[in-house]
Amino acid sequence: MTLSVGPQHPGSGHFRLIITVDGDIIVKAEPDPGYVHRGEEKMAEVRNYIQNIPHIERPSIIDASGILYPYVLAVEDLLGKSAPERAQYIRMIMAELNRITSHLYFLSIFGIFLGHSTMFMWPMGDREVFIDLSQMIGGTRITFSHFVPGGVRSDAPDSFADKAEKTCDYFEGRLKEYERIFVNNPLCHQRTVGVGVLTKEDAIKLGVVGPSLRASGVKSDTRRDEPYDAYDKVDFEVPVYSEGDSYARLRVHFDEMRQSMSIIRQCIKQMPKGPVKQKLPPQLRPPAGEAYARTEAARGAMAYYIVSDGGNYPYRLKMNVASFRNLIAIPYLLKGVHLADMPTVYWGLDYWPVEADK
């Protein structure tokens, strides 16, 4: 029997899965993305390098800084410029704040998929605390457009350090509560342990990225592999689990939030005084050439490939987003899984269709 799941279904939208089942075992799953395809790459060819910033971050507004980060680095690479040191730290703070908000969103939807209403409400509420914090720097709730080639648009206010410290203290306590009520919950264990196992070899072969990769035992994080900005000056751990199931993926998200808070604390301590933006001409014309920059966003390695012909507009801009790279794991993991486990496997990969469709 063939089932069509989506694009309107109670779990998550914008995505369709064509599932063939035998009894309640999934024999074959074929993803049908494209419900949010908006032609970002073509639009980027008729906008200049600054005009491209707002629409590039829209595909992943949960993690707006994360998706914008590699674009800014790629343009800086083409220009041969780099951001002032303070701007680098502010970028890192924003990226880590966004990682936390994105992971909290992941957790709350994971709660819905498991039928755990409390786990929808708690992270959604605590997400607002971090949104408030990033609002102090970025100015809006989620779509900041805050990074620009050569720095960031605005400096952090003086009161930021205090508030960030307080928020992190508060949230560390909350994380313990989360663990008590959700991660160590027998319901959660039964629904996720041993479900959708992605082995290390397959994770490497399929080129999976982000938390899903680290849950399969591959210790790879772009922040460590190829440190950008000031990531080589902060100390953090890369959480790795060897199980490769949905539960391990959930744990990786948990541990990454702790590490993110530690990075934010270190950044605030290390952040030097100074300018946050390098003076660049209003119309950027990078010399002809190409650049491939990558960063570690909340969902995994995010990369941009920009070909410049020396003109005002990028000649070609390729968004190599994390969700699109994880798309290949969905049909692979769903094979042989019970239909009732489909939501945990699907959302455990943290697949965000808007980002994947571009």
Binding site: P7, Q8, H9, P10, S12, G13, H14, G34, Y35, V36, H37, R38, G39, K42, M43, V46, P54, H55, R58, P59, S60, I61, I62, Y105, S108, I109, I112, F120, M121, W122, M124, G125, R127, E128, I131, R141, I142, T143, V354
Partner: protein, 179 residues
Amino acid sequence: MVKSGALAILVGRLNDVLQYAVGEPLNYLVNWGRIYSLWPVHLETACCSIEFGAASGPRYDLERYGVLEAFGSLRQCDLLIVQGTVNRKVAPRVRMVYDQMPDPKYVISMGACSNTGGLYFDSYNVLKGVDSIVPVDVYIPGCPPRPEAIIQALIMLQNKIKKQKFAPPELKQIETKVA
């Protein structure tokens, strides 16, 4: 001829009397029922769904305004919130969802993209406004709109429903038969 004319007048009068005596209170009652049990369809078309999620979260809490959580079947929903960009692939599905919903149904267009195409005004794959495929009651500007704006739009919609006239279908049928 005369008889049926007189009957028409009589039924017309009766209709008026019923309208004042029963219709108005009934109208109020029905609208009151509709206002505080708006069930949105869970149809996410793009990224605005995050802010809708935040709006149903604890800080903004849409439920206290009488909007339930968006996890029901669309057969029992009466509110379609178009959450973001509508592209050419999802547009027929939006219409399909709208057609499957029972009457009365209301549509809120959320975000610049679903109002006019927004940031994607020159994209090859994006509809210039969802109002070309479904009738829209309330438009929310913003990219994405803040949760407060969603709450405001819902209150506007509730005010609109309050002013609606409820027409009992049976009375209409008698009128058409006589004429």
